[in-house]
């Protein structure tokens, strides 16, 4: 099946960047719509004032990353939509995929922090387990 709508999760890491490059090539080849989503995660447990500050800073950080991603997408003539969601990464990616009817989810193999992965579980693994569509996990080159 040729995907018509590809969703890529991006957390600002090098792995996510490699995954984006792969998603971009696929989208260009298949003439698919590409959507990039970043998830701002509140601190655990969320605390007064810091939660709002963290989410604001994360949103601003991801918006800046999206500018670069949009420029790269434009070079390949790919239509790129972007969104910043709030919550836990895997859950938000899965919900957005179901909401938008994505045919393919692309994620990096490993995110920003190996310690967080060990503590809270791997995002890519959870996406693979519960995705409503096919998932492509991209390993770092």
């Amino acid at each position: 099946m040729i995907p018509a709508r590809i969703l890529i999760g991006h957390d600002g890491s090098k792995d996510a960047d490699d995954a984006f490059e792969t998603a971009l090539e696929l989208a260009a080849l298949c003439r698919a719509r590409l959507q990039v989503v970043s998830v701002a995660t509140p601190p655990e447990p969320p605390t007064r004032v810091e939660t709002e500050a963290t989410l604001e800073a994360a949103t601003q950080h991801y918006e800046e990353i999206f500018e670069g991603l949009k420029a790269r997408a434009k070079e390949r003539d790919v239509n790129l939509e972007s969104r910043v969601l709030v919550g836990h990464a895997a859950e938000q990616i899965l919900r957005l995929a179901a909401d938008t009817g994505a045919d393919l989810i692309v994620v990096g193999h490993r995110g920003r922090s190996a310690i967080q992965e060990w503590l809270f579980g791997s995002t890519s693994r959870r996406v693979v387990s519960y995705a409503p569509c096919s998932v492509l996990v991209v390993r770092r080159k």
């Binding site: 447990p45 007064r48 939660t51 922090s113």
Partner: protein, 402 residues
């Protein structure tokens, strides 16, 4: 001054370590600072001497107290007045019940179950009566419930709950004297005048690099804090109330709030939370873990007994009621502020303080996990519309009709 700079460097070094830990582990900075304070005091006390950390130095107490005051002000300023007005009856009802039931219940457990003194028991009730607005807010954002009537009502109820906590903290332990009357009277005048004066004053003289807005707010906070302390009350009480009355004006000025946050998180709150952590006695926790567990269970049970029936009175469906109840059993910031108040005013001893802090931290984590795992009101979540379920096109309808 050499000792002062060296001590300041030590504290900021600990703050930096705590921040790195919070980044690596994805945990709240407040939590990592409390833990770093605990460990630092343990290690420094064991190898060098407990006095090295200088927790009772006047300037450290000032920075720590200022951190608590501004943090509390910013917390109050997060209130959305529109949300509160929309459902004030059920938010007030649920919020007050969410405060009183654990306040009385946990105080009773501390008195009868753990044998604490009456004043220490009331302090335990105050510390464990809190609800974390941040936890509720974060969960609501994640699930998109913050835009539903249910989410707005729960958020507003949390503010009412914490208002009860702050008022109880500020008034219960203060002897009722003429000073109290003067403090309350002046507070009423100031809280009435501030929402009118502040925006006009800022419009006239604000918006300059000299940061007039920050100086004005600090004047109000320190002035009312001094009055509160003079009346043997607690400075965070007027800070929270000032934040709430200015939530519709100052609270909406994101640039000003951001600048205050920078000072608060960059310099002040590390002193507060590291100092709070430094008073935790690990040997006391190891010696009596059942006390911590008992206090945590007391909070969860009393919140459930209070909030669940209140939500049913307001006709919440079962799953929503259970979810609301568990979310409102959380609380970290105000719980730790209350516990430290008790310790510094000799209402509780170090062991009791340690149990309360551990129970407060537990209450920030456990209920959220349980709530999301078992009681999430999924039917409130936006349902994905798949292509196969989409409404048929008009052409298809016409075809079927032929």
């Amino acid at each position: 001054m050499t000792e002062v700079w060296a001590l300041a460097a030590l504290w900021l070094g600990l703050a930096l370590v705590a921040t790195l830990l919070s980044i690596w582990l994805g945990v709240a900075t407040a939590l990592s600072e409390i833990v770093v304070g605990t460990v630092a005091q343990l290690l420094i006390g064991a190898f060098v001497g407990s006095a090295l950390l200088g927790t009772d130095e006047p300037w450290i107490r000032f920075l720590s107290g200022t951190g608590a005051i501004i943090l509390t002000f910013l917390a109050g300023a997060e209130l959305d007045p529109g949300v509160f007005r929309a459902k004030w009856k059920e938010t007030t009802g649920i919020g007050l019940v969410a405060f009183f039931t654990p306040f009385v219940g946990c105080a009773a457990f501390a008195y009868y179950g753990l044998g604490w003194s009456p004043r220490a028991s009331w302090l335990a009730g105050v510390a464990l009566s809190t609800t974390s607005v941040a936890v509720v807010y974060a969960v609501m954002l994640e699930l998109g419930l913050n835009s539903t009537a249910f989410g707005k009502a729960v958020l507003a109820a949390c503010f009412v709950n914490d208002l009860g906590t702050v008022i109880a903290l500020g008034l219960i332990f203060a002897p009722f004297t003429l000073k109290t009357v003067l403090f309350v009277g002046t507070s009423i005048v100031v809280l009435t005048a501030l929402p009118w004066v502040t925006p006009r004053f800022f419009r006239r003289y604000g918006g300059r690099p000299s940061e007039l807005e920050a100086k004005f707010l600090l004047l109000a906070l320190f002035g009312m804090g001094a009055l509160a302390a003079w009346a043997d009350s607690e400075a965070v009480l007027p800070a929270y109330l000032i934040g709430m009355v200015l939530a519709g004006t100052v609270g909406k000025d994101h640039a000003l709030v951001r600048r205050l946050r920078t000072v608060t998180f960059g310099l002040l709150t590390p002193f507060y939370f590291i100092r709070a952590g430094s008073f935790v006695s690990v040997p006391a926790l190891i010696a009596a873990p059942a006390s911590v567990l008992g206090l945590l269970i007391a909070k969860l049970v009393t919140k459930t007994l209070g909030v669940w029936p209140a939500t049913r009175v307001f006709r919440y469906p079962r799953q929503e009621a259970a979810y609301t109840t568990l979310l409102m059993s959380t609380g970290l910031t105000f719980g730790s502020i209350s516990a430290l108040f008790g310790l510094t005013h000799d209402i509780i001893d170090q062991a009791q303080y340690s149990y309360l802090i551990a129970a407060v931290i537990g209450s920030a984590v456990v209920p959220t996990l349980v709530a999301n795992a078992f009681f999430l009101p999924r039917y409130l979540l936006p349902k994905p519309v798949r292509a196969s379920e989409a409404a048929p096109s008009s052409a298809a309808v016409e075809e079927a009709a032929r």
